[in-house]
Amino acid sequence: MTNYSLRITWLYPRLMNIYGDRGNVRALEQRCRWRGIAADIARVGIGDELTAGETDIYFFGGGQDREQVAVAADLRGPTGEAIRRDMAADVVALTVCGGYQLFGHYYRPYETEDLPGIGIFDAWSDAGPDRFIGNVLSETEWGTLVGFENHSGRTFLGEGTRPFGRVVVGHGNNGQDGTEGAMTRNAFGCYLHGSLLPKNPAFADHLIGLALRRKYGPDAMLLPLDDTMEGEAHAAAAHRAKQTR
């Protein structure tokens, strides 16, 4: 068997670290490790150097408004440029909440000036009058995903980007059109905390599989794992989503 290895780049882990999103990095890392795939985690903070062509999977989570301003400024420099080059080369990315918004064209707060994003998704976000908070069920190509949304931004998709899912429970992108998240090439964005990947292992494996096939060719295979426990947690979360909203 080939010795597979993947580099996971975690964008701004110190600043975009709220809402438990690090569980996604943990899930990618462990699900690689349990299959004998070496996974190394590179943390990229403000001012750090990021070289295009070295990353197999990006993760970019949610942060508070103050931190998001500092991150948006850093993304206007070489880090943003490196990410854009990798995205054009089909590198895999999962972005959540604030990270998702900054992968769009801009985030427009109420009073202060626009935060420019890096424009991977043909999407833009405006601050809304209130927050969407609660459990979410989103129907996707990889099954029904469970998660928890907590955002005031309303995200709208342009023609160049498809929705990642459709909300069965919850508000999703904007509370109007039923869409949840966005996807372009191998980049995915959504508002699903929870963390997302541990309770949605099929989608976690989809990301790992995409990264492996991109790096090692179409024959790269993922060994199955016992996901009984994750399945129980998914079922419990789905049940709570229907009960609580």
Binding site: I18, G134, F148, N150, P198, E232, A235, A237, R240
Partner: protein, 472 residues
């Protein structure tokens, strides 16, 4: 002040007292919220009116972690000093719970029936409570990330507190944990004439090697640069400074020195003051985070003129309130209950559990409104500390499987995790995993703790579901 009875207030108090008796007769859960809720409907100014009549005024205690323990410590110290103290207990720290506490203790004519009030308030309720009560002393423990779905982000809570503090009347004392950079920035916003009393930890042997993942407020509030620490104690609390040189922890009015942690049994430290004689504290409440609570209570009491002998005596016999390190006997085993509700608090409890004698461990996770609907915080908590835990681990509660998955990804072998969905069954099981006369640890979220107490009551291990189990 009018000598005529305030009819609206009297009507509100009569309503509250009647409702309280009704909740007691129905055996409803403690009756800490509903009487105050209906009373405030009748007289929205109830809290303020009663607080204004307290001969020695009111103290408001706020913060994400430790406010209940600090408020109870302070209430016991003041009681030991011979004062009659009004205190809203059992976590009833929203406006309605505070109104209930006032209404229960006061006469129908609106005399509060106490010398002084120690009021614990929830982060969200803090600005309203401060405006209504006009406290003599405000005690601020810390601001951590807590239940984002209820309170919003930390920065928005801090912004609301800042406005509340900027409106303090002259002569108010602000006792605050200067190890928290966010609180120092808030204290800067207090108007001239506020008496600032910063406290914090002196050098000690229990520092963290680096900021935990869950740490908040890592940026300098003046220039935005990441803060650094001479010593890091709990979460983002410590002896902090900005590397650009524009900001640092202010000089401490009071410091805890000679800190010694005694596992699950308690701790000792010295309260050092810039001007007065230092004095020693021994407490049965364990963990470094409880040093902050005991220090905050001691400093406040000293500020109010209580002698160091009375402070030390009251803290020596103090028993932790309601599920915050509480010891209950079940089937001949000692269960220690420790509430977990947010990443930093839970990390400290895990630090305590993994440094104490290894014993069977039960984690109970609920997602009701009082717990926070969002269980994402489990992923910000460092359950990795349990990867090599040498005793059995079980999980229970509405989100038992979320907890199980969290442990699995933290590196706990799957076969070592048992899932027992019903909390009552899980309590019996964890007790039976322990040998007779030995320990088991139970870590519940807030409503899981209430469920655990109900179950322990049914099992005959707890006499009163709503009272602290231990007697001195």
């Amino acid at each position: 002040m009018s000598l005529l009875p305030d009819l609206r207030l009297t009507a509100a108090l009569a309503t509250a007292k009647g409702t309280y008796r009704a909740t007691q007769l129905l055996g409803r859960s403690g009756g800490t919220a509903i009487p105050g809720l209906v009373a405030e409907r009748v007289d929205p100014l109830l809290i303020g009116k009663l607080a204004a009549r307290l001969p020695e005024g009111a103290i408001v205690v706020a913060g994400t972690n430790g406010k209940t323990t600090t408020a109870r410590m302070l209430a016991e110290i003041l009681t030991a000093a011979g004062k009659s103290v009004l205190n809203n207990g059992a976590g009833s720290n929203l406006s309605r719970g505070i109104a209930t506490a006032f209404a229960r203790q006061s006469s129908l004519l609106g005399w509060p029936g106490a010398d002084i009030a120690v009021i614990e308030t929830d982060e969200g309720a803090f600005p309203g409570v401060v405006a209504a009560v006009r406290p003599r002393v405000i005690v601020l423990n810390n601001l951590f990330r807590d239940q984002l779905d209820r309170y919003g982000e930390l920065n928005s809570v801090a912004a609301k507190w800042k406005i509340a503090l900027s409106r303090l009347g002259p002569g108010t004392s602000l006792v605050f944990d200067a190890d928290d950079p966010t609180l120092c920035a808030l204290a800067d916003a207090a108007p001239a004439g506020t008496s600032l009393v910063p406290f914090g930890l002196g050098p000690h042997a229990y520092t963290l090697p680096e900021l935990t993942h869950a740490a908040d407020a890592v940026l300098c509030t003046k220039c935005g640069a990441p803060l650094e620490y001479h010593a890091l104690s709990v979460g983002h609390l410590g002896d902090w400074y900005c590397p650009t040189g524009d900001n640092a922890r202010p000089p401490l009015a009071f410091a805890a020195t000679n800190i010694r942690l005694l596992g699950m049994e308690g701790a000792t430290f010295t309260v050092s003051h810039e001007a007065a004689r230092p004095f020693d504290i021994t407490t049965r409440v364990p963990g470094l985070y409880n040093i902050y609570n005991a220090l905050g209570a001691s400093v406040t009491a000293v500020t109010l003129g209580v002698t160091s002998e009375i402070v030390a005596g009251a803290l020596r016999t103090f028993v932790a309130p309601f599920g915050r390190i509480e010891r209950v006997a079940l089937h001949g085993r000692r269960l220690t209950l420790a509430l977990i509700k947010n990443p930093t608090g839970a990390n400290e409890v895990l630090r305590l559990v993994t440094s104490a004698t290894p014993a069977p461990l039960l984690l109970c996770i609920n997602d009701l409104i009082a717990d926070g609907r969002d269980v994402s915080w489990l992923w910000d908590t460092d359950f990795e500390m349990l990867a090599d835990y040498p005793a059995p681990i079980s999980v229970s509660g509405i989100r038992a499987f979320d907890m199980a998955v969290r442990l699995k990804y933290a590196g706990v072998p799957e076969e070592r995790i048992s899932v027992v969905p019903t909390i009552a069954d899980a309590l019996v099981a964890v007790a039976e995993q322990a040998s007779p006369d030995s320990d088991a640890y139970v870590l519940p979220t807030y409503t899981a703790m209430l469920a655990a107490r109900e179950a322990l009551h049914t099992l005959g291990a707890l006499r009163d579901v709503w009272a602290t189990a231990e007697r001195r």
